[in-house]
Subunit: 284 residues, 2 copies
């Protein structure tokens, strides 16, 4: 299977579960429910759910094991986009060619929809580990803890806070790397490791997968910077600090590091390798 096929199959699996988890627009409050669904359907590439499925496969489990993590991580990613687009944050009117949530539903509802998506992510994982649920409780708790940490002040929210009030005089490569790690790579790692946890991976495997995902997560964000590198479109990125060619080389080195970490997993990590190459391939 090629990477597009893998992404499409992952998206089908994740979308069915997401649709089931999200409250219906036929029940009130309809505005809130519509706003929660607005950016989810149709969604993006569903890369993070695919990473969760590939994480489970890397430890020899069926990809379906990772479904609660795949759903939770897509809910967290979507909540962060809804809040990042707000007028007081990045003030974006459009995303993926459609009006952003606050344009379509108003600012208050967009704030609330983001909040509800975040709470739903944790409810989904906790429910999967309920006595009648499919997941072993200690695995679910560990995945939940790592996802909450990745979503919080230490990672996703902290990275966004730094990014918002960045000081050009203070920006250097270490600063950009730290923002990339927290805003993007931490959630990539929580996706892969969460999937591998639900698949029953041992601590050694989880640790290698975490390092690999952090490496290609940063590379993915550098790729984004390179793609965005039109004059005047950005104030601060690795590209503006070290130039396009050096940024591309950095991304390639991080990909190589990730692939080396995945070597011991053999054929089980084929999907993960494919997704990592896909993420960084966008720079070439």
């Amino acid at each position: 299977m090629d990477v597009q096929g893998y992404l499409e199959e992952s998206a089908r699996r994740a979308d069915a579960a997401l649709d089931q988890r999200l409250p219906s627009v036929a029940t009130p409050p309809r505005g809130l429910h519509g706003a929660m669904r607005h950016l989810l359907f149709p969604g993006g590439k569903r890369l993070r759910p695919a990473l969760a499925f590939a994480g489970a496969e890397a430890v020899g489990a069926m990809p379906e094991c990772a479904l609660p993590v795949a759903v939770a991580v897509e809910l967290i990613h979507t909540y962060s986009l809804v809040h990042d687009d707000l007028p007081c944050m990045d003030d974006d009117d459009e995303r993926r060619g459609r009006p952003t949530v606050h344009i379509a539903y108003g600012e208050a509802t967009a704030v609330l929809a983001g909040d509800a998506l975040l709470a739903l992510a944790f409810e989904t994982l906790a429910e999967a580990a309920a006595p009648a649920g499919p997941v072993e409780p200690m695995r679910a708790l560990a995945a939940l803890r790592e996802l909450a940490h990745a979503a919080g002040a230490a990672q996703l929210v902290g990275g966004q806070a730094d990014d918002l009030d960045f000081d050009p005089a203070r920006v250097d490569e270490a600063w950009v790397d730290s923002v990339h790690r927290r805003k993007t790579a931490a959630l990539f790692a929580a996706s892969v490791v969460g999937g591998a946890r639900l698949g029953g991976g041992d601590e050694g495997a989880l640790s290698a997968l975490r390092r690999a995902a952090l490496a290609f997560g940063v590379a993915f964000q550098i790729a984004d910077d390179v793609l965005d590198d039109a004059p005047g479109t950005q104030e601060c990125s690795l590209v503006s600090l070290i130039g396009v060619d050096a940024a591309r080389a950095r991304a390639q080195a991080l990909l190589d590091e990730a692939l080396a970490l995945l070597e011991p997993f053999g054929g089980r990590a084929d999907a993960l390798r494919m997704l990592a190459r896909f993420a960084v391939g966008r720079t070439r």
Copy 2:
């Protein structure tokens, strides 16, 4: 011990744990960390942590058992206040005699601080049940699931969404009751039941405690409406629909219902009875 003493002791216990959980303002991003702490220290009455401790006591456990739920529920309550105060929501400049978070730290940081508090609530509960943690995993997962449900679209966020776009023509007693239940009583119930869960209460006890907490939670919100009942200060409340006297009587009937449900718990529910009377006593 009287109710003030119980609240003070609960606050001391919760505050020490909250202070430990919150990131330090000495580490960056300082603005985010300051904003997360702004409304927490000094805090309010810490009624919800007290309810969690009293829930544990009601099933014969030490109040300290409930600490992870007490911390989580105060974080969720605080996040909801930070977001409710935003310009696009209730647009409040002051709370408890101090500037609101968005006035003190800016709107973007207030959104992010609320997000981080919500994620931290779930991280706290998941961490308490880690292999080295003090809490039995299935109890933590059940408490977490109920808290996430209470914080999400079905309850807290949904109630706030209805409250924001209420239609005077559509408002009746059932509508007000539904908003009270979701905006306030659900989190009261998750506090009491979560505390009792960590204390090892059985399903029968948890069910009675949930019904009691929902009843006096609604009564607490009616009490708030009665206290706020100055001409022109509100557009929609039970008081405006049925008058002050009938609202007081409704609150009293709900308190009586809660006390009857707590009867079988005997002396173990003394703290919970005291807190329930305190909440509704404010109407008299």
